[in-house]
């Protein structure tokens, strides 16, 4: 679909987005699917759907749209990611630590989009009981953080290694003879089933590591942040983060490698070849034939694994291109660096200057505090937050990029098996099946192979997939309202504030916005200071990243950290959703572009080509001139 399709249908979704008269958000039962998406429920398991038999409970909760992790309608298979954290993130807060004020975060999929609702704890006795347990358990992690993080990296790497060793091949005509002569007693069918189970278990294993330390890291940051905000009212999140963020974090590595390859290309006189506007494959072939090309290609291959297992999205969706499979992205960035180098610019990140600034800023704020006790608390929290931050910033590279990118490629390998056995026509069609349906389809495949009959799957799945494809395409035209149900009386749950940036003010803002009459001004969080007027480029999927032109303002549901290369081309960024610790915020701040996040409705109000003004100081986006449509 294109941005234009979306534009035409925007008012339909938007008109449902709001019912200000009642001072509450629309009921989840009042939402209708867009035309052509009727029956969308069949894409998802029963337990993620809003349930009419629990109407009172469903309507009494505050549901907000998680466009941060899933900006597009979720593919049936991809629910594995949201289902993972439904349990894995929730259990950390509810049963493992347990965070005194918070239970888990509930999920529903509505018209293909994820809505979530944090559960709180309000009974004082229960809070007290949880506080004691929490202190003992979380205290252990904080006290031993560095050692536990070393162990964590080993676990993560081992999990990835085991994933690498998972392979799917079509079943052979005859079972391999070693299964016979080694008297194994189990054969390819059992291997296929257990390999699939291992794949799914491996995903849930990494999904569990993902949250092992994350909430505590966020907790330390939140504490430091609130202290700064109290002592220095109005201090920006960018400044707070700059005092504690890592200087040489892993997440920068892929981009660092691209810079290095750009420098090497110039050194070896290969830069002209790379600058030619051809496909990465053609460029690589031409380099192979050029003098010095072998050296560059060797360097390129070394850099690729594992650093190019790098998603251009947040990693929660199989459709986000990964550098490894789609080299256009690193090559686009590389061209930018080569051009900058030719202009005589320095493309290295100024590590020493960043470090020096961090020390100066931290010391100046410390000196502004009035009492010894304040300064002691500040120093302690800076030190603790700096200790936990490497995990907060770097876990993305292991989990979302390296592991999950590899995971999607393994699922595609399984897709090839289904193609080989005539169940589907395209490897990517496998993502239209839920993981539990795949288990069934796989067994159907084994039956066919074992009996020599045609599997029912060979005629069963194609029409289902076609229907689901049409439904999902229709769902992309729907604009999810930012929130549903009953607005909360107060938001105290720390992770909701940290991760999604949702506060009482956000809720009031959403309640006050009439999407139909939103007019030419949008308010959001002032994320990065400065003001720019330029044409907008509205993106609804990662694929459209390649359309971005120099100087445009990026307007998106949410930016992904790995969009970094595109940040050197744009002049400002606007997003619908945004929290201060969103995966993305960490890197977007680095680029110092004016940015307004959490506007709620930017992608439905603004259209590509509109001239807009982004005021990152005030947190306002104005449409200066609308393009004729």
């Amino acid at each position: 679909m294109t941005a234009n399709d979306k534009d035409k249908s925007a008012p339909q979704g938007a008109s449902e987005a709001h019912s200000p008269a009642e001072g509450r958000f629309p009921s989840p039962f009042d939402l209708r699917p867009p035309e052509g998406a009727e029956g969308w429920e069949e894409l998802y398991p029963y337990y993620v759907l809003i349930s009419p038999e629990r109407r009172e409970m469903e309507e009494g909760k505050f549901w907000f749209y998680d466009g941060m992790h899933n900006p597009e309608p979720i593919y049936p298979f991809d629910t594995i990611m949201t289902e993972n954290w439904w349990v894995a993130a929730s259990q950390m807060a509810s049963r493992v630590w347990p965070i005194p004020l918070a239970m888990g975060i509930d999920h529903r999929i509505i018209n293909g989009y994820l809505y979530i609702s944090p559960n709180g704890v309000s009974d004082p006795d229960e809070i007290a009981r949880r506080t004691e347990e929490f202190g003992r358990r979380a205290g252990h992690y904080f006290e031993n953080w560095d050692e536990i993080y070393v162990e964590w990296v080993e676990k993560a790497k081992d999990c990835i290694k085991r994933l690498e060793n998972i392979n799917f091949r079509p079943l052979p005509d005859l079972d391999p003879e070693e299964n016979v002569f080694s008297h194994r007693g189990i054969y390819s069918t059992h291997d296929m089933l257990s390999t699939y189970n291992r794949l799914i278990e491996n995903m849930f294993e990494m999904g569990s590591y993902h949250f092992e330390m994350l909430n505590l890291g966020y907790g330390a940051y939140l504490t430091f942040r609130e202290f700064c905000q109290h002592a220095f009212p109005g201090i920006t999140d960018q400044t707070i983060t700059s005092m504690v963020s890592g200087i040489d974090i892993l997440l920068f590595r892929p981009d660092d490698e691209v810079r290095r390859l750009a420098e090497l290309a110039i050194e070896l006189n290969l830069d002209e070849i790379i600058l030619k506007d051809t496909t990465p494959e053609d460029v690589l072939a031409a380099i192979g034939e050029a003098e010095g090309g072998g050296q560059w290609l060797g360097s390129f291959e070394n850099a690729k694994d594992p650093l190019f297992w790098f998603s251009t999205g947040v990693g929660y969706t199989h459709s986000d291109p990964v550098w490894m499979d789609d080299l256009r992205f690193p090559f686009m960035a590389m061209r930018g660096y080569i051009e900058a180098l030719r202009r005589g610019e320095n493309i290295e990140r100024p590590l020493e200057a960043i470090l020096e600034k961090r020390a100066r800023v931290t010391e100046e704020y410390r000196a502004l505090l009035p009492t010894d006790q304040d300064r002691e608390a500040f120093e302690g929290l800076v030190a603790l937050t700096r200790k936990v931050f490497p995990f907060v910033e770097d876990h993305n590279l292991y989990v979302e990029h390296w592991h999950h990118s590899l995971f999607w490629s393994k699922v595609r390998e399984l897709g090839d098996v289904f193609v080989a056995h005539n169940f589907i026509d395209d490897r990517n069609d496998i993502f239209y099946l839920h993981r539990n349906e795949i288990y069934g389809a796989l067994y159907d495949l084994l039956i066919g192979w074992a009996t020599g009959s045609e599997s029912r799957g060979e005629i069963y799945w194609r029409p289902v997939i076609e229907r689901r494809r049409r439904i999902r395409d229709a769902l992309t035209t729907w604009s999810p309202p930012p929130a549903l149900g009953k607005p909360p009386e107060s938001i105290t749950e720390p992770l909701t504030i940290m991760l999604w940036g949702i506060t009482q003010e956000t809720v009031q803002e959403w309640l006050g916005v009439d999407a139909d009459a939103a007019g030419d001004e949008l308010r959001g969080v002032a994320a990065s200071a400065g003001k720019v007027v330029a044409p907008a480029r509205v993106l609804t999927s990662s694929e459209q990243l390649y359309d971005v032109q120099d100087g445009e303002i990026l307007v998106c549901r949410i930016t992904a950290p790995s969009w970094a290369p595109v940040f050197s081309r744009i002049s400002a960024a606007v997003s619908d959703v945004g929290g201060i610790m969103a995966h993305t915020a960490i890197i977007s701040r680095e680029y110092g572009l004016p940015a307004v996040v959490g506007t709620g409705y930017a992608t439905t109000t603004i259209h590509t080509g509109d001239m807009i003004e982004v005021d990152g100081t005030e947190g306002v986006v104005r449409i200066v001139e609308r393009v004729a449509r």
Partner: protein, 363 residues
């Protein structure tokens, strides 16, 4: 022999902090010496003031007025000071003083290359050194004064201002501080800055005392609009550490203080329509002014209240600096309610107890 000087230029080596320049001009001389862009000028010193009172035979009358002032009702002050004020307005100037004022004004004309160079004439009192007293608005400032005769007229007005109702009745902690002390006055003469925009900067947030902020109010034209409060200024808040502009409040401005040639004086005139809705300072100027304020605060070792102007060419001029008096006088209260290890702070936060503010019921 600076102690006997009638005239002292701001850029004279003897000027910085010299008590005969009074508080305001003594500060400005320090600023000039430290290399800040202060418009040139000179002070007609406290020595000159005392010399005048002596030769005019007004010393006894001054002593008498000061002695009775604390006991007077506000309504009685005018009658009691009539003779003194009449004397200050009309008694002949000592010839040496008259000559030196005229000579130095002529020198000012030569230095600036401007005939009848317009100047601001303002009082700079010894009493301004009293800790914690701002005397804000107690003394008049006369703008756009041209020619030696006019200058002398307003010099006398400044001297007379020492015995105005407002000053004689100004009380601090219940005492009529100025009336009882034998304070002298210096009259500061400073070249007018034809301001495109002007305003006041505080090196802390005057609303809550937050020392991590620089707060400025600015308007089109001369700074009188901000100081007097009859123009709603633009307001800018800048982070003192990172120099991010955190807030900007703009309100349309239809009138500005400016020299009005038809009236021959400074008055409220319409703002150029193209400027009315625009911010009177660019972001670059806001940051330049903020950096200037931070340097001045460092130089002077405490929170400051700074008046400044921006010329049509965009150059910043410092017109006045004085210590901030409200928050600087208070003991700052701490933010942390209970001393804890950082881990315990985090554990407490995730149990709903914030590090800062919860004890006093804030947040």
């Amino acid at each position: 022999m600076t102690a006997s000087r009638f005239i002292l230029w701001l850029d004279d080596a003897a000027a910085p902090g010299n008590p005969i320049l009074g508080g305001k001009f003594g500060n400005l001389a320090q600023m000039t010496a430290a290399g800040f862009a202060v418009p040139p000028g000179f002070g007609i010193t406290t020595v000159a003031y005392r010399h005048f009172l002596q030769t005019a035979g007004l010393e006894d009358e001054v002593r008498r007025v000061r002695a009775v002032a604390p006991k007077l009702e506000l309504s009685e002050i005018k009658d009691e000071t009539a003779d003194l004020l009449g004397g200050i307005a009309s008694a002949p100037l000592p010839a040496d003083l008259d000559e030196q004022v005229r000579e130095n004004y002529a020198l000012f004309e030569r230095k600036t290359g401007v005939e009848s160079v317009p100047v601001a004439v303002r009082s700079s009192g010894e009493s301004e050194d009293l800790a914690g007293a701002s005397f804000a608005g107690q003394y008049e400032t006369y703008l756009w004064i041209c020619g030696a005769d006019s200058l002398i007229h307003y010099m006398r007005a400044c001297w007379a201002g020492m015995f105005g109702e407002a000053v004689l009745s100004y009380r601090q902690d219940g005492d009529t501080v100025i009336a009882t002390g034998d304070f002298g006055i210096c009259v500061g003469i400073q070249q007018m800055v034809p301001a495109r925009a002007a305003g006041v900067t505080f090196t802390l947030d005057p609303i809550n005392g937050d020392r991590s902020k620089i707060v400025m109010e600015a308007c089109w034209g001369l700074g009188e609009g901000v100081v007097k409060g009859d123009v709603t200024p633009n307001r800018f808040v800048v982070d003192k550490v990172t120099f991010e502009i955190l807030q900007q409040h703009r309100s349309p401005q239809t009138e500005e203080y400016r020299f009005d040639p038809s009236q021959g004086t400074v008055g409220l005139v319409p703002v150029d329509p193209a400027r009315q809705d625009a911010a009177c300072l660019t972001d670059e100027l806001v940051l330049e002014l903020a950096e200037l304020a931070k340097r001045i605060e460092r130089e002077r070792g405490g929170a400051q209240d700074i008046e400044w102007a921006v010329t049509e060419q965009g150059e910043v001029r410092v017109l006045q600096v004085r210590p901030e008096t409200v928050w600087s006088g208070r003991a700052e209260t701490g933010h942390v309610a209970t001393s804890k290890s950082p881990v315990d702070h985090v554990l407490a936060r995730l149990s709903g107890v914030r590090v800062a503010g919860s004890a006093s019921g804030e947040d």
